[in-house]
Symmetry: C2
Subunit: 132 residues, 2 copies
DNA sequence: CTATCTGCAAAGTCTTTGCACTTTT
DNA sequence: AAAAGTGCAAAGACTTTGCAGATAG
C-alpha cells in the first residue's frame, strides 16, 4: 500500500473525489461508489484514502465527532468555512493569516510547521431553515 | 447529566484537569484517576467531560486520529502551536486573527460561527534531536 | 511470475448507552 | 424519597488488519 499501482479501485476513488467539490467521509465515498456500480470495499476505500492522504494527494480534516473528511487536494493554500448543518464549504485565503502564522512559528522556534484554520457555522440557508 | 451536582467523580475529574496544563485524552484522565485512587469509571469520565465541554468549562480539540483531547478552559480565546513530536503546546493569540475570521464569516453570511486555528511543527528541542 | 492490491470478516479504538444501584439534595 | 449520577457491560461507529484469492507490471 506504499507504492501506488493503477488499480480499478484507486481510479474509482480518485474519480469520485475529483467529481465532488465538498469534503466526504470514507463511508460516503464507499456508498457512492457502490451506487455507481464502481464499488470498492470499505477497507479498500480506507486504504486508498490513507495512501493518498499520506502522499498529499488529498486533503483531510476531522469532523467535530472525529470522523475523517477527505477531499481532493485543491488549488493554492487556503482554509475553510464550513456549514455545520449542510456541510457546504467555502474556501478562504489571506496573506495576512499566512504571514501571521509563520511569524508565530518562527517566534517560538518551531520548524517544519504546517497549520490549519477552520471556521464552522451555519450558512445563510441553513440559518433561515433552522429559525423557522 | 444536564445540571451539575457536586459529586466525587466530577470533583476528581475537575481536579485532575486543573492540575495538568496539557491536553489529555479521556482515557488518560481515567487512568490517572485510577492511579491516584480517586477512580471514576471510564463512562463517568466521558459523561463528565462531555457535560463540562458542553457548558464551556473545558476546551476540546481533536487529535489527528480523531481522539478527543480535553483541557481545563483557560484564559481568553486563543489558539495552539503544537509540537508533532513531543506534544508540547504553546498558546497564541491575536486580535488580528480573530477579527479577520469574524469578517470572513460575516462576509459569507455565516451565523453562529466558531473557529479553530492549529499549527503543528517541531519544537526546537525535537528538531535538534531529530536532525542528529 | 511476483509483488501488490482487494474483499471479507474479525478485531480494535474510542465513545455512548441501558439499566440497576448509589449518592445528592 | 425523588432526582441525578455512577458502574458495568453491552452496543455503536469508524477504522484497521489478517489472510486467501485476484490483479498489475
Amino acid at each position: 500500500m506504499s507504492t501506488r499501482r493503477d488499480t480499478a479501485a484507486r481510479r474509482a476513488i480518485a474519480a469520485e473525489l475529483a467529481e465532488q467539490q465538498n469534503f466526504r467521509t470514507a463511508q460516503e465515498i464507499h456508498a457512492d461508489l457502490k451506487l455507481k456500480g464502481a464499488s470498492a470495499s470499505l477497507a479498500t476505500v480506507y486504504r486508498n484514502l490513507a495512501a493518498m492522504a499520506g502522499t498529499g494527494d488529498i486533503d483531510v480534516v476531522l469532523k467535530a465527532d472525529g470522523e475523517a473528511l477527505y477531499r481532493h487536494c485543491s488549488q493554492p493554500h487556503h482554509h475553510h468555512l464550513i456549514c455545520r448543518s449542510c456541510g457546504k464549504t467555502i474556501e478562504v485565503r489571506s496573506h495576512h493569516i499566512e504571514n501571521w502564522l509563520e511569524e508565530q512559528a518562527a517566534e517560538h522556534n518551531f520548524y517544519d510547521t504546517d497549520h490549519r484554520v477552520e471556521m464552522i457555522g451555519l450558512c445563510q440557508i441553513c440559518h433561515e431553515t433552522h429559525s423557522s
